[in-house]
C-alpha cells in the first residue's frame, strides 16, 4: 500500500510534466469499467453454443451481432454443454450446466444458471438432479414452455425423464418419467412432447405447478425403421417440421392433447435422390414463418452421410412444397438458423471451423464471415 501510493505519486508527477498541448484524457478515472448491452437484445443477435469437444469441461457460449459481426460477449457454461434457452422477452438466459468438484472427477452438480442478457452476469442458479443428458448438442435437450414459465430438461442416465424447473419461483419442480422417449420439446404453455424410439410421440400435459397430469402416446408418426427423421425440427405454431434421412419433410401437428402426422413431402426429385442429394449437418433445418420458407443444408452422399455438412442450402415454399431458391454456400455448413424478424438474416456454422457465416436469406448473398468464434461451435440460438 505504501508503495502503491508511491507509484500514484510517480504517475501524477509524470502526468503533470507532459509536452505542450492537450493530452488525451485518461481512461483510468472513467466510472465505466465493464460494458453492458442494450435490453431487450437485438433481433439479429445470435448465441453460438460451443461444447468444446477437446476440452469439454470448459463449455462456452459466444454472443454475436449478426449485423455488425461484432463479438458481444461470452458465457462460461461448464461440462458437456448443449445450448442456452431464452424466454420470449430475451432478457434472461437459462443455461443448463454441469460441474464436477474436481473438473473431470468428484461430485457432479447440475444447475440451471440464469444470466442477464444485458450484463451477461449470473443473476440466479437453480439446482436440478444430476441427470442431464450428455450427447451431441441438440435443441430438444432443453426448451421453455410457450409462456416461458417452465424450463424442461431432458435426462438420460440412461433412464429417460424430463426435469421441470419453475422459472417464476426459480426452483426445481420435479421429474417426469418418459421411458422410451427422448427430448423435451415444448408444445404449449403447459405441455411438452418427447420422441420415442418406435417413432411415436409422447405428449405430456402439466398443471400450473409444473407436475405432469396427463401422458398421451401416439402411434408411429413416421417410418422409424426405414427412414427415420433427424432430431432437429423447426416449428411454426402447432406444427413441427422434421426431415428424414432420405429427404422427406414430415409435418407433425399438435391436435388437442396429441399429435398427428400431416402428409409428408419430398425435398428431392427421383433424379436428385438417384444423384445422392440428401440433407445433413446438425441443425439441418431453418425456418422463417413470415416468409413461409424452409431452409435445408444439402449435400450428396449415401445414407450414412446423414450428418455430413453441405455446401448447398435448398429453400422451399412451405405452402407449395416447391423449391424456390438454391443458395450456394461459400463453405460447407453444419448448422443454420434464421432470425425471427421481418428482415431476417440466415446464420450458419461452417464445418470443421470456428467461423460463423451470415447470409441474406432472400438473395442468398454471403454478407460476412465472423471468425474465431470458440473451438467447436455446434448450435445457434437467436433472439425469440
Amino acid at each position: 500500500m505504501i508503495v502503491g501510493t508511491a507509484l500514484a505519486a510517480a504517475v501524477l508527477s509524470v502526468s503533470g510534466a507532459g509536452k505542450a498541448g492537450a493530452a488525451l484524457p485518461p481512461d483510468v478515472g472513467a466510472t465505466k469499467t465493464v460494458e453492458s448491452l442494450p435490453s431487450p437484445p437485438g433481433k439479429h443477435w445470435l448465441w453460438v453454443n460451443d461444447f468444446v469437444f477437446p476440452h469439454m469441461t470448459d463449455g462456452t457460449v459466444h454472443l454475436l451481432d449478426g449485423d455488425s459481426g461484432k463479438y458481444l460477449g461470452l458465457l462460461s457454461v461448464g461440462s458437456s454443454f448443449s445450448h442456452v434457452i431464452l424466454p420470449r422477452d430475451g432478457k434472461l438466459v437459462y443455461s443448463p450446466e454441469i460441474y464436477f468438484s474436481r473438473g473431470t472427477r468428484g461430485t457432479r452438480t447440475d444447475v440451471v444458471t440464469i444470466y442477464d442478457t444485458s450484463t451477461l452476469k449470473v443473476v440466479g442458479e437453480i439446482g436440478i438432479p444430476p441427470k442431464r443428458v450428455s450427447s451431441v448438442p441438440t435443441s430438444g435437450n432443453a426448451e421453455l414452455t410457450d409462456d416461458d414459465r417452465f424450463l424442461l430438461i431432458y435426462n438420460f442416465t440412461p433412464a429417460q425423464s424430463v426435469s421441470v424447473v419453475d422459472t417464476m419461483s426459480r426452483s426445481f419442480v420435479g421429474e417426469v418419467e418418459t421411458p422410451g422417449c427422448a427430448f423435451a420439446f415444448a408444445s404449449g404453455p403447459r405441455s411438452f412432447f418427447g420422441m420415442c424410439a418406435d417413432a411415436s410421440f409422447l405428449a405430456v400435459d402439466l398443471d400450473d405447478s409444473g407436475h405432469a397430469v396427463r401422458q398421451t402416446r401416439t402411434d408411429a408418426l413416421f417410418d422409424g425403421a426405414h427412414d427415420p427423421v433427424a432430431e432437429h425440427p423447426v416449428r411454426i405454431g402447432n406444427t413441427w417440421y422434421y426431415v428424414s434421412f432420405d429427404g422427406r419433410i414430415h409435418p407433425i401437428r399438435k391436435s388437442g392433447a396429441s399429435f398427428v402426422a400431416e402428409p409428408a413431402w419430398p425435398l428431392t426429385t427421383a433424379a436428385e435422390r438417384r444423384a445422392g442429394w440428401r440433407p445433413g449437418g446438425v441443425q439441418q433445418l431453418a425456418i422463417h414463418a413470415g416468409l413461409g420458407r424452409l431452409y435445408v443444408i444439402m449435400h450428396q452422399g449415401g445414407r450414412e452421410t446423414h450428418k455430413d455438412p453441405g455446401k448447398s442450402i435448398w429453400v422451399y415454399d412451405l405452402a407449395s412444397h416447391r423449391r424456390v431458391q438454391t443458395i450456394s454456400a461459400a463453405h460447407p455448413l453444419v448448422s443454420i438458423k434464421a432470425s425471427t424478424d421481418d428482415q431476417p438474416l440466415l446464420f450458419a456454422i461452417v464445418a470443421e471451423s470456428n467461423v460463423i457465416d451470415v447470409y441474406a436469406p432472400t438473395t442468398g448473398k454471403l454478407l460476412r464471415s465472423i471468425k474465431d468464434v470458440g473451438t467447436t461451435p455446434s448450435l445457434i440460438v437467436t433472439t425469440p
Binding site: F53, P54, H55, M56, T57, S79, S80, I98, F100, G103, T104, R105, R108, P130, K131, V133, S134, S135, V136, T138, G140, F156, T157, P158, A159, Q160, P179, G180, C181, A182, F183, G194, M195, C196, A197, D198, G224, P228, V229, A230, E231, G280, G281, V282, E304, T305, H306, K307, D308, P309, V334, S335, I349, A351, E352, T376, S378
Partner: protein, 178 residues
C-alpha cells in the same frame, strides 16, 4: 477430421440388424443394451479370453491391420478417440480411466478370416478427452430418440462411477456373428 458430424463419442450398433432377435432389442429395450449383458459374458468365456498363439490382435493374418488406424476392421462402427493411441489398446482402457459398463455394439467384417464379429465399443471414462486418433465410421447410425443405435450419446454418462467425462473408445470382440 469432420469434427462436428463426427465428434460423437459412441454409437450403439445393431447386432439386431443381423439377428433374428431384432425385435427383442428394438425400441425402448435398446436403451439398456449392454448394461447388464456384457458383464455376464466374461463368465461364459473365461477359457477363451487369451488370444491363440499367432493370432495376436492387430497382428498376423487372423486379425489384420493397425489397431491405431481408423481403417482397422474392428472400427467399422466406432466414433471417438481410439484408445490404442491414448495409452490403452483396442481392447483396454488407458491407465487411470474406467471402462463404461454400457456400450454400443457394431458388427464388423474381419478380412483376415472372412467372419463377421460383434464388436463392443466400450468407452473409457473419467479423464478429459484424449484428443488423439479421432475416428468415425458412421454407418447405420440412428437419431438420438433411438438410443440403442445412436452414436450421439455419451455413454460414460450414468454408466460408470466416472460419470460424464469421456476419454476414448475401445473396440472389443464380443464373438463371431452368425
Amino acid at each position: 477430421m469432420k469434427w462436428l458430424d463426427r465428434f460423437t463419442e459412441e454409437s450403439v450398433r445393431a447386432v439386431a440388424r443381423r439377428s433374428s432377435r431384432r425385435s427383442l432389442l428394438a425400441g425402448i429395450g435398446a436403451l439398456f443394451v449392454g448394461a447388464a449383458a456384457l458383464p455376464l459374458l466374461p463368465v461364459a468365456r473365461g477359457a477363451e479370453a487369451k488370444p491363440a498363439p499367432g493370432k495376436k490382435p492387430g497382428g498376423g493374418t487372423a486379425d489384420p491391420g493397425d489397431p491405431s488406424a481408423c481403417d482397422y476392421w474392428r472400427h467399422c462402427a466406432i466414433d471417438g478417440f481410439l484408445c490404442g493411441c491414448c495409452g490403452g489398446t483396442q481392447a483396454t482402457c488407458p491407465p487411470g480411466t474406467e471402462m463404461s459398463a454400457i456400450t454400443w455394439i457394431g458388427t464388423c467384417h474381419n478380412p483376415g478370416d472372412g467372419k463377421d464379429y460383434v464388436i463392443s465399443y466400450n468407452d473409457c471414462c473419467g479423464k478429459t478427452s484424449c484428443g488423439r486418433c479421432f475416428c468415425n465410421r458412421n454407418e447405420r447410425d440412428t437419431p438420438l430418440y433411438q438410443p440403442g443405435q445412436s452414436n450421439d450419446y455419451n455413454w460414460c454418462a450414468g454408466s460408470s462411477q466416472s460419470n460424464i467425462p469421456y476419454h476414448c473408445s475401445t473396440a472389443r470382440i464380443v464373438g463371431a456373428a452368425e
